[in-house]
Symmetry: C2
Subunit: 396 residues, 2 copies
């Protein structure tokens, strides 16, 4: 009963894993390497070679031992085994990796045992701190590139949450034409990041605005707002919020965020025009908040979530206990996971249990692990399916 789409591994994707480091032509490749797009402007290293090996270079003349390490076991940078760097005559340290997977990878330097950022790289909020990131272009994909199409904006919106008693930030993507069509109203996707990330992550790591600009330009997705909140929320007056303290996030979304967005932007205040999705921790938040508030949300997306035991009769407050009711209430239930994700078995079993229970949903699987390149592809598949129901068609 599910609409299944399996991502076909493209040749280039396999290629990088079977390519041996070439023993000739290194000098030319060295010269042909390009600074990573994630570098600080003007920095030569990290440098990406045509075969996607990456050379890191670090200035640390007093250090005894320097290494570079991918931050996740499955990011493609040699797992999470550090690459030891070699000291050069000029006091810098250098290493060239094997070919690295296209996409975005968190990484760290290890200076005499201390894990830290690479000053040559931009930093990205991930792993609950500002972390270096390596963007490796994918020659086969351009759906998240900046192109000559009309561009929307990402707006930094301050607002006050009564739930937490704080001033908080939401990032709000507005589509091209939002300002020039002041009578048009838009559907809204609430889109959450993963644990240890924040409201900036979907824009900076995920390139949400460029993905949406391109989908909208190609008329593959409807123009919509995308709201990204910082995701952690503890009730006012409770203990100081920790990075994982998100017990009040559902209340914040319903009581503070949705009303603020609907009163600040030209939205369509209608459950059929409001979706909630997220990745990893955000996938859990989307399922919990969305399914507990089906009067507000008719579309839900789970990107690389799952892992919890799922019982269609009792889970999520029994939202799936009667499949006919669930199918009537949900315009879109979308579930996706990378086949290399440790949560893949959990996501698959959720998908299969929903299938067995007769709950209509989209299922998306493809190569990749728990990483941003997968989530970019998830958004690329998910966003075009949103707000296409009869109500959506009628309204827009």
């Amino acid at each position: 009963m599910s609409v299944t789409r399996t991502w076909r591994p493209i040749a280039a994707f396999v290629f990088v894993f079977i390519l041996a480091v070439p023993l000739h032509g290194l000098a030319q490749e060295e010269a042909a390497g390009k600074p990573a797009p994630s570098n600080v402007r003007g920095k030569e290293f990290p440098k990406i070679h045509p075969d996607r090996r990456v050379t890191f270079r670090v200035t640390a003349p007093e250090a005894q031992k320097v290494a570079v390490v991918g931050h996740a076991a499955d990011s493609g940078m040699n797992g999470n085994t550090p690459y030891e760097m070699k000291k050069r005559a000029d006091g810098t340290w250098e290493v060239t990796t094997e070919p690295v997977r296209p996409g975005f990878h968190y990484y760290e330097l290890i200076i005499d045992g201390h894990r830290t950022t690479d000053p040559a790289s931009q930093t990205y909020f991930g792993w609950a701190q500002q972390t270096s990131g390596l963007e490796v272009p994918d020659p086969e994909l351009d759906f998240y590139d900046a192109k000559d199409v009309p561009h929307g904006e990402v707006r930094v919106r301050w607002y006050r949450s009564k739930t937490t008693g704080e001033y908080r930030q939401a990032y709000v993507y507005t589509p091209p034409g939002y300002d020039s069509n002041p009578k048009l109203r838009y559907p809204v996707l609430y889109l959450q990041h993963g644990s240890g990330e924040d409201q900036t992550s979907w824009t900076r790591q995920g390139k949400v605005n460029l993905i949406m600009d391109n989908l909208i330009a190609e008329r593959k997705a409807l123009p919509m707002l995308v709201v990204m909140e910082q995701g952690y929320a503890v009730k006012a007056g409770l203990a100081a919020p920790g990075p994982a303290g998100n017990s009040a996030f559902g209340e914040l979304v319903i009581s503070d965020l949705v009303p603020m967005i609907d009163s600040t932007y030209r939205t369509l205040d209608d459950r059929h025009q409001r979706a909630i999705a997220g990745l990893s921790m955000g996938a859990g938040q989307a399922l919990q908040i969305g399914l507990a508030n089906l009067d507000r949300f008719a579309s839900i997306g789970s990107f690389s979530g799952g892992g919890r035991a799922f019982d269609p009769k009792t889970s999520y407050g029994g939202a799936f206990a009667d499949s006919a009711t669930a199918n009537k209430k949900l315009d879109l239930l979308w579930i996706g996971c990378g086949t290399g994700d440790r949560g893949y078995a959990g996501a698959t079993s959720l998908h299969q249990a929903l299938d067995a229970a007769g709950v209509r949903h989209s299922w998306f699987e493809g190569p990749g692990s728990h990483e941003w390149q997968v989530w970019r592809k998830h958004l690329q598949d998910f966003a075009p399916r949103l707000f296409r129901g009869s109500v959506g068609k009628k309204t827009l």
Copy 2:
């Protein structure tokens, strides 16, 4: 002939420099300390004590030597002399500084000689890399706090520059009411950061949006757009841009940025409604670009710039050679500098030479060095003076 405002040193400001480290009551103060507002959410350290001493704590069990250092000689954190940290029984390292100046200070950790970021702190683009920052609240000032007033937005705007051949980002502050008044048009301030900073700096370090929100709520400043560009620009086809490569920035502003802003936002396309200002390197850019393009800009602000030899007859293409002409063309020429800034003598001599030449201008001096707290105060004084000329009054 200049309108002079001298900032009176407030008692608290002097207080922090003469306060001896108290030898009693340390335990209570330790408990009363609060995490710095610039910390990563949920991180206890850096912790600011009521007397503004700051405790830093770092986990680096394998390191031999750990220190923390302010990034600028005059930031108030013991100059740029590192504070050596002491290893504790649990493997963390700690130090408590003397009382630190209110405001924003870049800082670094030094782990076995390697300067790097503090994982407990947010990072800010400064010194041509992502750098840790310490925000120390000022109990005497709230003009840059988030308050219960209508909030504008900061919009991340992608656009294509023909000058450099790149996709680039500008950050655009739009005032409260911009969306709800779709027929209103607004004046524009182009506002540039300093060397080694970028388009994010005025928002993140400078709190431009909160300053403008508060000034507009108090009706001290007119609603306006504030455009912040990344500031480095090299002609397409020339060598790879370095962090200091800004030879084509003037051309980019005139040929690409201003036309993009005027065609994308509801601006008043009129020299009386367009200003350019900046700090440090950006002050030089504002003076050079503004004075060379008086058909586009009638208001110019120089925050902590100067230092070049100035000759009223020949400098800036002779824009001040005839003071009557200059006074006619310039609605506002604003020059400010901290008395503790190494560029103070240069800024003062520019101010005096303009006075002697009979060029009308605003002059603002006050305590502080080459630092963001000074630039926040500059903006607070500068923005209310903008677009108040006869044409501005007529149009708005």
